[in-house]
Symmetry: none
Subunit: 206 residues, 4 copies
DNA sequence: GATGAATGAGTGTTCATTCAT
DNA sequence: AATGAATGAACACTCATTCAT
């Protein structure tokens, strides 16, 4: 039992280190195997290729986060407009954000890989997926708010940009604050900023 | 001298295409030369190495933008606090933004290279430079505003994030809107959003 | 495992030939691999780089000779002055010389590589090492002899030159006499010549 | 007149520097031309190829030394056996040696090139030529001396080695003593050593 | 006399991947 | 489950040399 999956684990550990240091493209399988104490051939017993190796590090946390986001947005689709339009009450937004942060710092290395070291792999655009999800949410919200306020709704580009910026805020936290506590401290201000800007768009005169 | 420096131009053109398609690291000099219709040796007559080739595409627009930003921030250091704190008057900010956008779309491909395809070259961190410059500016502004409003100033992380987000907004435009006109249409809303969020930080109760 | 490390041996054999023909710098790894019937990649499975390939041909004989010389000079440090100053009795010197020759001809090709084909590798100055060792020995000898004979000792340049010449005599043999027997025949005269000159330096009037 | 041969001179000067620094093989014509302030094409107006460039630095001093040696040995062919066999009178040998040294230090750089930096060019074995000349001389001398002393003459290998060693003594001086004065100081001892050894060969019992 | 341009073969080295054993 | 061996294509870069102008 001890030795059973040990090699696989060693490889993943060694791969994580190499990918974090050099990024997907520049990472060397030779190196990964050497540091794991096995030959290159062994790697191909456990993984199909370089990309599969990377995927095995990243896929699980990624799909969990996807689920987390999905369930959050599923709930929110029934949210009342009243809640959304009041700046004072942005508590729920923050709660979700904190949840996400907690999750991302739990898989700190893995999200580092996904968000900043995946260039060249099929995950290089996976931030875009989250932006997409977020975007759909913001589209619906914007239309609802606009309607309830008798204001003009936002165009697609703005929706996309806000979604992008919001996701990017998480990426920025993860890549600039090493500890979860520090990240949590910042997130409140950030959400406040984002919502303030967001609401201002609908109160704009012209 | 076939046709007055034709080869050099062909190489630059071919290089631009290759770099845009594959990024700095993955670009193949062989390919660039082949598509330019010359041998690899020819490239080394005109350029020192791969990095120099990239630099010759990118350096001029980059230093011009640097100058543009420098002169803008030089002017603004004498701006009065009154101006800064009024949401209604954010005209100047937009004018500068439009200038920057105009410039960036004039060198559309080049900034695409700098901002998204320079990984592995010495330009890979040059977005950070713009963030740094922007950050210093925001630091000063925040302190002034906070003082004049009797509010708390923003901590370093928020300053950095706002600077990052602002620069990123330009990058986002350039990579998501193909034409300058469309980009200009969006920039007003974006600046409005950013300033709204920014001002809200100082009016925050708690 | 074609035939028990056959490829490695083929590579070493092919490399020896190429290095002997063209010298370290001008030798082509491509050529070596081609003649060994493998691709260039294969070489890098067995050897780290060009220098490592060369080293694997040369290192073992070299360190053995180093040891041989070391042990010889260790013994001789206790030699009595009487022995040294008599021309008639230079038997021991010849015995050692014959040992060295026997060893060098046993690794004929390898010493050919070390002594005449190593320019550009880290072995290019390894003759100097032997000269250095020899030089220290001669320095001590000269001082002892001079003292016992009431003569002036030799200056540093002469010591160095004699050491150099002595080592060079071996190199010369190896590069000019193809067979060990012929070399052994010559060494006696050479040692006689060298010792005669050496002793004459101390009997010189002026 | 001023500008006439200037380029050629610059090229030769630059070439001398490069060849001295890197040796014939590793020297780069690109570099030589760059440091001379001309393009590679210009070089080929004055010189046929790399080897010709090297030759133009080296040929003149080389042929002058050849002449010097030739005339010396021409004289000596009529020398009496008596002179040669007396150790006390080796004055003439020293005089010639000093002449040679004076000449070699007059063209210090050039002989440095010939003797230590010519590997890969057609001059790489040109020391052998001098050895050949010297060898013929020693052959005749040995036979004469042997005859006059009723001793056995030396075999071809010994003749060759003595010739080689003698020439090598000059090379050694040039590469280890930077100034002519120092070299001249040493040459007397060296010649004394060489002649002592030489004479001892004929007085040998067995 | 000399330039500017270009060639084409060559260099050592690295890579992800394969596969018989 | 893993090794040891090998592939073959690719890499950036350097070289001496050529030649029309």
């Amino acid at each position: 039992m001890k030795n059973e999956k040990e090699t696989r684990e060693n490889l993943l550990k060694s791969a994580k280190k190499e990918f974090l240091e050099k990024g997907f493209m520049q990472a060397s399988l030779r190196n990964i195997c050497k540091n794991a104490g096995v030959t290159t051939g062994a790697l191909y017993f456990f993984f199909e290729d370089k990309e599969d190796l990377f995927a095995n590090l990243v896929q699980e946390p990624l799909s969990q986060l996807t689920q987390l986001m999905g369930s959050h947005y599923a709930d929110e689709s029934e949210i009342s407009v009243l809640e959304l339009s009041t700046l004072d009450d942005f508590g729920e937004g923050i709660d979700v954000a904190k949840q996400v942060i907690h999750f991302m710092y739990h898989y700190y290395d893995e999200f580092q890989l996904i968000l900043t070291k995946s260039q060249g792999s099929r995950f290089e655009n996976c931030v875009d997926y989250f932006v997409d999800v977020s975007e759909k949410h913001y589209r619906i919200m914007a239309d609802k708010i606009a309607e309830s306020m008798g204001a003009k709704t936002l165009d697609d580009y703005m929706i996309h940009w806000v979604a992008h910026m919001q996701i990017d805020a998480f990426v920025h936290l993860l890549t600039h604050e090493a500890s979860e506590e520090k990240a949590v401290k910042q997130i409140e201000s950030i959400v406040y900023y984002i919502i303030s800007g967001w609401m201002a768009m609908f109160q704009r005169k012209r």
